[in-house]
Amino acid sequence: MSNQLTKADAARKREKNPNSLLSALKNGGPIVWLSCLIMGLGNFAAGQIIKGLIFLAIEVGMICLLTIPIIPDIAKVPHSGIDWIKMLPSLGDREDGKEVVGNIEVTVFGDRSQMILLYSVIFFAIIVAFIVIWQASVRSGYQALRTKKSGKKAPTFVQDVKSLFDENIHKLMMIVPFILLMVFTVVPLVYMICMAFTNYDSKHQNLFDWVGFDTFALLFESGGSISKQFWSVLGWTIVWAFFATFLNFFLGTFMAMIINRPTTRIKGFWRTMLSFTIAIPQFVSLLIIGQMFALNGIINRMLMDLHWIAEPIKFTDNATNARIFVIVINLWVGIPYTVMQVTGILKNIPADLYEAAKIDGANVVQQFMNITLPYMIFVLTPYIITSFTGNINNFNVIFLLTGGGPFGLEGTAGKTDLLVTWLYRLSVEKFEYNLAAVIGIFTFIILAIISLVTYRSSGSYKDEEGFK
């Protein structure tokens, strides 16, 4: 069923779309050609006055936005869109200066590269959006004219609006989330990716320049301080993700199976005890745990009162201890999630498999190795992969427990820093935006490789509607 559908889709794609921009330009005639310059002309000619006016208004608005100086810079001097984009290649070069007016020394503001880059990215996004609307307007005019030529009446504005609630409902419903996504996620991402190619760091706060791949090169420079930190953080991130994922998975499975044993009483109670961890905000539970394990915290105190240790254990002040500490506490955070997942799956294993195994004389261990484990690995592989990528980005546990520390004498990366927590510190606290951006891009590449390899080969990607 779904195969036929995709085949039909592909066939339809191969057919030439009679309303494409190309065919509009080829067969459109003078009015359509002119409507490339004056948007909405085709719609006017076909009698769609309101639609034509809307397109025309968008074009006028766009021209105003690009040419009329409306956006003020740091010195409150307004610039037009084109002005901002013109400054993009140099990213500005006027430094802040002093000027004596009368007897008072006044600061004269220079350029702010960060603003130039931001507004340029925004205007580029607006231009892209405009091009999309422009080609839609040319096509819409062409289509309306064709309808008129064939003797029918082009759809009126009311009909167009009505179609938004029916066959074009996706246009109505997607517009707001799509714009929000573009403006507040994609534009910032593009902006940040641009920063990776500049020298926007703590030493270049007002003015910075394009430096190409220099910051990327820093990561591979042998013996460099940045490259040393980067590889040690990357190594720990992988080690952490590995332990955090698999320890949680195996211990969680073990716990779920113990709770699910037929003779275990009050199963619901044990699960509720575990699920407290999920229900309570992590910043509360992890901060309080951090306090409990502090040097003068209650845990050290109790262990000393029991005479198990002579002096307080430094859980977070020493690299090895801190790393073990975060992995162990992460068990506390992660096991309940695994128990939740696994409990549902254990219930779904067909009972007749076990009965058949029993008849064949398999003992409990054999049943586990040959039925339970293969079944769970089959079902839970996507879950393991998601939790692996999730752990690479596991900000909360590290940030709230150790804050990335303990810190060495040089550099900004601590011994328990993951790529994300380091990225956070670099951008929010240390203002090393270019390095933060490069690390973000690397994290993306790592996650993209993992996801491509795993999702591409999984059935659910290839055939979305297959599992029905």
């Binding site: 409902i169 991402l189 745990i289």
Partner: protein, 293 residues
């Protein structure tokens, strides 16, 4: 006879096993709830010490003073105000966010359009970038729009909360995919538009999932301490609960605010865990299928 004997020893070993398992589970349960017991005990601590007191796990005297001070002593840390700020942000963003997620999921699940596949691929690529990477950039953008000062801060936080709706469709779309297409087709045959189908057929069938979505997006702002902190900076009037609590544990305030932190944490943890339990019920209901019978 021999069979009886054997089953007897099997039974004995099973009872030993049961005892071991239950002792083990008791220890596990104690370890798992210990931080929360400690939190509540510290929140209820009597006496004049408001800092960290590690001498005993359970305090020697109990009182509600920290809860009372949390809500009445608003001179430095205005907790009621933070609570109200967070509530406003959470309420508005959960209504708007849920609607956007529903709209996106409906379009991706029920409507065939040209850019559907590309859109979903783009969504996947976007989610692969670490959220913290674009965080500062988003702040610069909001600042350029003038949304990071004074009264505009709640608006900025709401925008940040709902802007992810465009890519946060997976659970809802997966659920909508389980609703039989035949229902939609029957509605079209009866002359319903797609909008009517969405309102009259899809939405009612998604009810458990909608409740799940509403509560999860309501809980988001209560737990977010990174983005809120970045946007609020020093504007204390617009702090949310999580920033306020976070600040109480800072080096210079922990000696006077630790017990109040515990009280505040209890105050927000209780409603959130209740909401969580409710969402779990609806989630399970949703997972058992959209159309029963």
């Amino acid at each position: 006879m021999a069979k009886n004997k054997m089953s007897g020893s099997v039974k004995a070993s099973r009872i030993t096993m049961d005892i071991i398992v239950h002792i083990f589970l008791t220890i596990v349960a104690i370890v798992w709830v210990m931080p929360f017991v400690y939190l509540i005990a510290q929140a209820l601590r009597g006496g004049n010490n408001n800092g960290v007191d590690s001498s005993v796990f359970f305090p020697t005297s109990y009182s509600f003073q920290h809860f009372i001070r949390l809500f009445t002593d608003t001179s430095v840390v205005n907790f009621p105000r933070m609570f109200w700020n967070t509530f406003k942000i959470a309420a508005v963003s959960c209504v708007l966010g849920t609607f956007l997620v529903l709209a996106v999921s409906y379009c991706l699940s029920r409507v065939k359009w040209k850019l559907r596949r590309p859109y979903m691929n783009m969504g996947m690529v976007i989610t692969l970038f670490p959220g913290f990477m674009s965080m500062t950039a988003t702040y610069f953008l909001l600042k350029a729009m003038g949304l990071t000062t004074g009264e505009n801060i709640p608006l900025a936080l709401i925008i940040c909360n709902i802007s992810g709706a465009g890519v946060g469709f997976h659970v809802m779309k997966g659920y909508m995919d389980t609703i039989p297409k035949a229902l939609d087709e029957a509605a079209y045959l009866d002359g319903a538009t797609k909008w009517q189908t969405f309102i009259k057929i899809t939405l009612p069938l998604c009810k458990p999932m909608i409740v799940y979505q509403i509560i999860t997006s309501f809980m988001g702002p209560w737990c977010d301490f990174i983005f809120a902190k970045l946007i609020c900076r020093d504007e204390k009037d617009f702090y949310t609960v999580s920033i306020g609590l976070w600040d109480m544990l800072k080096m210079d305030s922990i000696s006077t605010y630790f017990t109040r932190f515990c009280a505040g944490a209890v105050v927000i943890a209780i409603p959130i865990s209740i909401l969580y339990i409710i969402t779990q019920r609806f989630y399970q209901e949703a997972m058992s299928g959209s159309v029963k019978g």
